[in-house]
Symmetry: C2
């Protein structure tokens, strides 16, 4: 891959910041944008010392403002070859309480990115979509071409809306699009998700961990290092106009109980775990989720670790990170 200039939205977030590091390591120049609502300065500290990295703190959800920002940036820094659109609301439950959150942060960001790409003639987009677009298909191992798509959270709905807008843009002005349907992703710099929540709870009540639901929800987890690997692999090898690929481990995941026990063992071995009732942790939560990663495997990519190893590694990384003072 020749050296290119990449734009990463959500650059100070969990996945965005790991992606920035990878792109810089590959020799590319990177423009990172983040509104710093969920983004964390520490996540881009290493990148900020790299001469190929430019960081702008700005909102992405206002199309007119974002078009202006990208126009200015390309004027100063040169044309952008590709956008990695990672910015989104990451708190699914908050988006269920207030639909405006996912409208603004999960969908209008995508809309603004597409508008800016059209205005600045940026030809290629890679987009962080989600398994949440599928909704609840029970025990069926859902593949990319399966339907119906009936998301049960506003987060999933606004990710599907973003996919749809990208698909229409590909018909009209984009050269190529890669849509990644993410599983649950874990690892250092995580700013949300079940491990993060459990560590937070144990900080407040070190003697007990209260788990929403009965803990039997089983989901696949991928480590962020494998995720970034898969993303760059798909972009390098996905040659359709619109490529849409489930990313995930090959196993059927681990239960919330396993995660709770792993977190407690690492962070507060004396704590007791208290489970709630019901199979769903919150409205919009999917109790069991299997999806097929056969398409990605057929393309030639395999993860380096399974859900259990990914979770265990991530618990360690997140626990250590918390004990480091913020600089």
């Amino acid at each position: 891959m020749s050296t290119q200039f990449h734009l990463v939205t959500g650059a100070a977030g969990f996945i965005g910041s790991h992606l920035v590091d990878r792109l810089l390591a590959q020799g590319h120049r990177v423009l990172g944008i983040d509104n710093m609502v969920r983004g964390v300065r520490r996540n881009v500290e290493t990148a900020l010392r790299h001469p190929g990295f430019t960081f702008i703190e700005a909102r992405v959800d206002d199309a007119a403002a974002f078009i202006g920002l990208i126009s200015d940036a390309t004027g100063r820094l040169g044309p952008i070859n590709m956008v990695w659109h990672m910015a989104a609301n990451s708190d699914i439950a908050a988006g269920t309480d207030d639909a405006n959150i996912d409208l603004r942060d999960t969908f209008l960001t995508s809309f603004a990115v597409l508008q800016a790409m059209r205005a600045a003639s940026i030809p290629r987009i890679a987009f962080a979509s989600s398994s949440a677009i599928y909704g609840d298909h029970g025990l069926r191992a859902i593949a990319e071409d399966d339907g119906p798509l009936l998301p049960i959270s506003n987060y999933g709905a606004m990710k599907l809306a973003s996919e749809a807008a990208i698909s229409a843009a590909a018909e009209s002005y984009l050269e190529r699009a890669w849509i990644f349907r993410f599983p649950n992703v874990v690892g250092g710099r995580g700013t949300h998700g079940v491990i993060y929540d459990f560590l937070n709870k144990l900080e407040i009540t070190p003697d007990r961990l209260e788990v929403l639901g009965n803990g039997l929800q089983r989901k696949p987890y991928l480590h962020v290092a494998d995720l970034i690997d898969a993303m760059t692999f798909i972009v390098a090898n996905g040659n359709a106009k619109v490529n849409y690929v489930n990313i995930g481990p090959e196993d059927q995941g681990v239960e919330v109980r396993f995660i709770a026990e792993t977190v407690v063992a690492e962070a507060a071995p004396a704590a007791t775990i208290q489970y709630g009732e019901g199979s769903r942790g919150w409205v919009g939560d999917v109790p069991r989720f299997y999806y097929s990663t056969e398409k990605l495997r057929r393309m030639g990519w395999r993860p380096s670790q399974d859900s259990a190893v990914a979770v265990t590694r991530a618990v360690g990384e997140l626990f250590v990170e918390r004990r480091q003072p913020a600089r």
Copy 2:
């Protein structure tokens, strides 16, 4: 069906106004809302003489304003039992040139309707979706549960976004939702579409009709009377939480050439027809579109006429309508 109070958005539009007439004829009370951008006063003239009809000229796309409007309306008129959300941009090509049009008129209207339903505790929604959510599946007769859903127009993208938001709302607070995936619909009061465009063109150049594309695009057409029939049938018989049904005729449609010839025969028999090149009339146009109406047939509904009869009847209705002076 007992007498209820229905809200119809896009009430002065093509399909909305026919729906209002039907609901009033069934003995219901109806609140019609339209921003009168594409709506036409004449379409609701009959309804306005009916004591059960209330009409408000207002925008639907601003959620905060719409919540206030519905709160006021229910305060004055009583609780609303059900929303029929018909308001949308109907000019697909305009939405391809400027994505803001479908964002605002096709999606943000749906978002605002859902927000207002939540605020006013309106439990049921019927929604005018579209076959455009499927994208281009070639010669495959696409059914409701088929994927992938990769719309090629912003109109289709924002209809899919609306479906997704309704699906998430059904998980959270709606009691029931009916999603109709419309085919091309024709008939009196039509404010857009190929027949309408051809009649417009012949008014400007009565000696010739220029057709975009080679005229071999084949699509199914349903008459609006059959459409309203199907909609009320689906609401009466669709008992799932989220019902999503393709509506259409059972035949494989007619070619644009047939429509051009029918319009010319009715409106300007001496005109010559000039065809363009290529199989698509515009970006976002799907050259051939078959979709399965098997699900609707299995529910027990059949159309009263095929595409050719529907088009011929609609051409007559629209031609006669144009010659009546606006009151």
